[in-house]
Amino acid sequence: MSDTVTLSLRAPLDGGVAGLDVDGVTADRLAGLAEREIAALPVWLDARRAELGDFFSVRGERSDRVRVEGALAQVHGIAAGTTGGEMVIDGDAGRRVAAKMTGGSVEVRGSVADEAGATMGGGTLLVTGNAGDRLGAAVRGAFKGMTGGEIVIGGSAGADVAARARRGLVVVAGNAGRHAARAMIAGTLLVLGRTGAEPGHASKRGTIIAVGGIEIPITYWHACTFRPPHVRLMLTYLRRRYRMAIDDRAADGAYRRYCGDAGDHGRGEILEWAAQ
């Protein structure tokens, strides 16, 4: 048993391939495997089956603490389906990082491509850089997005963040792209930067907390301006848990509450920080 299992990508993938899919290579799975068994795990290069050891050198065994390193931007599905343990991804990663995750923690010291944390059900995904589209959202054709857990993005996120989310918390320290929280069923999206166009479209329930500015859709109506206690709790938690830099005025301040989407059940909400 090792303290950590380290997976090092030997060389950047050829630009001509769509990418290497390592879906299922998770910390909890590696916790029970010897080094050669880890190296023999199936991966997919485009549509061809291969072994993890064909691309990664493996150091360590039987540990639920995993480090993945190298030029990983073309490696997809890292930590997808994680149920426990800790994984640190050192560098930019490809699509579907921590998708379908239900437990444990994944930290990306870089940026991630589309569909990170998609349909996630639990655990924590922390990304120090940016995220692509459909962060924490439903994958194409799925009814529900994330159903639990926490996603914290240190940078900005693309379009459709938290789309169809059913539960869980998505935090974007930078800006969020268009259609944030589209068709949200429940859960919370907190954007400390600017929230993009058409947020909360067709939202049934759920909460968008917009600290850095948002254009309120005409299908939302103003209910009141108040100090929501759960926002203060949430921001305090994020400061303490993730050491996020959050303006005191945002934690202490009042928020304008808008209810919508009028085109749907109308029980969603947008809480817009009233900066003054």
Partner: protein, 303 residues
């Protein structure tokens, strides 16, 4: 054994196992946190008639509370889990939910047994309530006229809490008894995991189980320690004792009570106090015995 000239009687306080919860109430400032806590802990001196025992454990700084606001930590004790849950729901609902600016959080997050008081109270929101999960804990946003009240869904239960810790201060006069009892309360005040549920931490009407002359009573005056009955009952009072006050303690564990009793007794040993004793029922009431001399010997000040 004497401590600064005060006799420490060779006896023990008898405690019993209770269920306990720690409730953290926060508010926009200390004033409103205290207001809620004072109402919450009202009429909660003894399970004999109040169904629970409760008091403020200590004030909390914003750094110590989940929402970074001033707060108060309360301990609530009851005889069983069901009763504790009911008392929590009643008291949070009537004293925290109603109090301006307050939120209510669990103070025993590591306890696996839970009382779902917030879940019970969410229905006050008449289906307009909203749940949020923060840090793995579920909270209920209950709409109220002021805005919203935030209640944690469930509260941890300590199953091995201890009630009935006590010591009696036997003094030459009422003023001396009160001064000694106040000094004891001050010494205990703020210790973690222990409360003194009686007014100002002091009880003057210590009780015995049942009654000599009223069969229906479950408790009646502790006549052996009433100075006015010295010649009419089997008095336990030494000569020269004219007033007795009792400090009753509930704690999250034995150690919390032992430490508090030691500090309290130490502080109560002052001029005008003749002896310190304790109430027990011969070991028939509960499994916890707090022997006064052993407790004071641990502190090293008694001789």
């Amino acid at each position: 054994m004497k401590n600064r000239g005060v006799l420490i009687e060779d006896t023990f306080a008898e405690g019993f196992t209770m269920r306990a919860a720690r409730i953290v109430v926060t508010a926009t400032n200390d004033k409103w946190a205290q207001q809620a806590a004072l109402k919450f802990t009202g009429f909660a001196t003894s399970v004999i008639a109040c169904k629970c025992e409760a008091a403020i454990e200590r004030s909390l700084s914003p750094e110590e509370t989940p929402d970074a606001r001033p707060g108060v930590s309360i301990l609530l004790f009851a005889m069983d889990t069901g009763s504790l849950g009911k008392r929590l729901s009643e008291r949070i609902g009537q004293t925290v939910l109603t109090c301006p600016t307050t939120n209510c959080f669990d103070g025993l997050p590591d306890s696996t047994e839970r009382a779902p008081a917030g879940r019970a109270l969410r229905v006050f929101g008449d289906k307009f309530q909203i749940s949020k999960v923060v840090g793995g804990q579920r909270y209920w946003r209950v709409p109220v006229m002021e805005g919203e009240c935030l209640l944690q869904e469930s509260f941890g239960i300590e199953k091995q809490a201890v009630g009935g810790g006590n010591f009696l201060i036997l003094a030459e006069d009422a003023d001396s008894a009160l001064a000694a009892a106040e000094a004891a309360v001050e010494a205990i005040d703020g210790l973690p995991g222990v409360i003194l549920p009686f007014p100002g931490g002091i009880a003057r009407s210590g009780s015995k189980i049942g009654a000599r002359n009223y069969q229906s009573l479950i408790a009646s005056t502790n006549d052996a320690y009433c100075p006015t009955l010295r010649l009419t009952t089997a008095s336990a009072l030494p000569e020269g004792v004219n007033s007795v006050l009792e400090i009753v303690l509930d704690g999250l564990d034995r150690d919390a009570i032992s430490q508090a009793m030691r500090l309290g007794i130490e502080a109560a040993c002052r001029p005008g106090v003749r002896a310190i004793t304790a109430g027990n029922y011969g070991g028939h009431l509960g499994p916890h015995q707090f022997h006064l001399r052993a407790i004071m010997a641990e502190g090293g000040s008694a001789s």
